[in-house]
């Protein structure tokens, strides 16, 4: 491969230097990295807030904070994690960086809009911070902003929902950019069944972002109108419907769960075949299941409302529909496992984290069925069981997929290799800490401990102490992984173009990629996961 200048040395637009080369960039790769640093900041902040919450709960009664601060803490933990980490993490960082490359093109369709989305993201994040220090104090509603509490509370809900509104716009514009790039910019020789699965998952996600996000934006505007004008949309006295808010909120926020998990599934679909040296099992089934999850996931929102007092018919219908989503999710899990079957498995940190994903996500999915079935949900509704289920899916799923993606694409993004040993230690500590952290919560929930409670009965103390201990272990593991990656930037272990033996287009170009991605026209394969060349190369090199 000829020596080419990487995108780090070639600003876009040309002529910009220093910080301006970043703040005014149109390059999708630079924007991906700019998202990465911002999102990592938010993740660490929200993680530390979560750790403080669990520390408070390690012992009965007041330990390190009072009940009001506790309420604000779990609100901030939820808002930051959801809107500033889990939703944008994989699409905004890795989607921006790799979607155009996997499609064989030089950038997204709207590069300036891409930069604008980043500014909206940063602006929304700053609003979230401002909401802490202005107005009537910390918001204390939880990330769900349920009425009537969110309309009546003195906490600064208005500024926080404004922040979420702005972040929603950023997410929507990113989705619009991806859909347009998918259709209009991909290489002319690349048919639909030649597109890598990560890009397919981003496409499915982008549609949900475009269609569902306006619903939450409108809902937040309605909350603001209620707070400032008291028009009574949700008040029965004034002809309003108190359940309308919950319908509107979950119309977005349940599909948003799929915005969070689908890109993670795409990451796993990339990693598993590469380290199994085997073509992905059921490529078409995975593509169809991604789209099916996007569609079916938009039909199940009211399963969050079984105990809210909505009609029995609605409970029945939404419970039935919820079970349908399990089918495409299971198709993916079976496809990943089948890909590994009789593969030539090469263990690496990305694969280890992907295996953790499969295990933890499956537990999350199965506990989801307990909650999807109305009969069992009523017993564990609003308990720690829900908290554990949600974190198994969002953290055990999306979180681990995010860590796997970081370890998988880090050499491509920065052109350096990291040390495997600390990566494994960090990943094992994170996985063990995760189990210690959330399994006690599943049990606590089944024993009847409600979520979002500041204090609890004596019989719940052991479980809460164990969960807190697991939380510390989890955080240590994550820090080890991050520190290892950051230290790799200071060492001189240069990454080759294809360190893993990947087959998708990003592995055919230099690490880090040149500004225009492809200096020579990309070679589009008939099937993106054909490993015959990689295996032949390995044999030739005697590996």
């Amino acid at each position: 491969m000829t020596e080419t200048q990487s995108f780090f040395e070639t600003p876009s637009p040309r002529g910009q230097t220093g910080i301006k080369a970043w703040l005014l960039t149109h390059d999708h790769k630079r924007l991906g990295l700019m998202y990465m640093w911002a999102i990592l900041f938010w993740f660490v902040l929200a993680m530390l807030l979560g750790l403080l919450l669990r520390t408070e709960l390690m012992g009965q009664g007041r330990t390190i904070m009072g009940p009001e601060v506790y309420n604000s803490m779990f609100t901030l933990h939820g808002v930051i994690m959801i809107f500033l980490f889990v939703i944008p993490a994989i699409p905004a960082i890795f989607g921006n960086f790799f979607l155009p490359i996997q499609l064989g093109t030089d950038d997204v369709f709207f590069p300036r809009l891409n930069l604008f989305s980043w500014y909206l993201f940063m602006f929304g994040g700053m609003f979230a911070i401002f909401s802490l220090f202005f107005g009537g104090g910390f918001p204390d509603t939880g990330w769900t902003f349920y009425v009537p509490f969110s309309v009546g509370t003195k906490g600064n809900v208005s500024l926080t929902v404004t922040a979420a509104f702005i972040l929603g716009m950023s997410s929507m514009l990113t989705g619009l950019n991806f859909v347009t790039t998918f259709h209009r910019m991909r290489h002319k020789e690349m048919g639909l069944m030649q597109i890598p699965l990560f890009t397919w998952s981003l496409y499915a996600t982008a549609w949900v972002q475009i269609l569902a996000t306006p619903v939450i934006s409108i809902t937040f505007v309605l909350v603001m109108m209620e707070r400032f004008l008291a028009i009574g949309l949700f008040e029965p006295d004034k002809g309003g419907d108190p359940l309308l808010y919950q319908h509107l909120f979950w119309m977005y926020s349940h599909p948003a769960v799929y915005i969070m998990i689908l890109p993670g599934m795409g990451v796993i679909s990339e990693i598993i075949p590469v380290f199994s040296r085997k073509s992905i099992f059921g490529y078409k089934a995975i593509v169809v299941s991604s789209m099916a999850i996007a569609v079916a996931g938009s039909l199940v929102w009211a399963h969050h409302m079984y105990t809210s007092g909505m009609s029995d018919v609605s409970v029945f219908v939404f419970s039935l529909l919820t079970f349908i989503v399990a089918i495409p999710s299971a198709v993916k899990v079976f496809s990943w496992v089948s890909t590994m079957y009789r593969g030539s498995i090469q263990m690496s940190p990305p694969l280890f984290l992907s295996l953790c994903f499969i295990y933890l996500f499956t537990v999350g999915g199965l506990t989801g069925l307990v909650l999807g079935a109305a009969g069992t949900d009523i017993h564990v509704h609003d308990t720690h069981f829900v908290v554990a289920h949600f974190h198994f899916v969002m953290f055990g799923g999306t979180g681990f997929a995010f860590f796997a993606a970081l370890h998988y694409w880090w050499p491509k993004m920065f052109g350096v290799m990291y040390s495997f040993r600390p990566a494994y230690i960090g990943a094992v500590l994170t996985a063990v800490g995760f189990v210690f952290h959330y399994v006690p919560m599943l049990i606590l929930g089944m024993q009847g401990m409600p979520r979002r409670y500041y204090d609890y009965l004596p019989q719940f103390e052991t479980g809460n102490f164990l969960a807190g201990f697991g939380g510390y272990l989890l955080c240590v593991g994550i820090l080890v992984m991050f520190i290892n990656l950051f230290f790799s930037l200071r060492n001189d272990r240069t990454a080759p173009a294809d360190p893993w033996g990947g087959t998708t287009l990003e592995w055919s170009i230099a690490s880090p990629p040149p500004m225009e991605n492809f200096v020579a026209p990309p070679e589009i394969k008939g099937f993106p996961y054909d490993f015959s060349e990689v295996i032949a190369r390995s044999r030739k090199e005697g590996r």
């Binding site: 259709h183 209009r184 269609l211 009609s311 018919v313």
Partner: protein
Amino acid sequence: MEKAEKPHVLGYGQLALVLGLLLILTGLTVAVSYVHLGFWNVPVALSIASLKASLVLLFFMHLKYEGRVIRYSFISTVLFLAVMIGFTFWDVAFR
């Protein structure tokens, strides 16, 4: 990659015709509001409004001349909205 759509320019005559139709339909909406149709008041008003929206989309926003991707994309947004509103009736209609 999907093939690019052919460029299209609408003539003033065609645009004026659509504008005329929209004005007539607006007049019809006002006229119908004076007739008491009972249950049909809302469906009739919504039908006229939908027809007007379709004309705007097809001609002023050029949907008629776009390729399949744009058309299907648009239809999917309408379906999504229909599902969002329609499925709440599983709750509201059976309380």
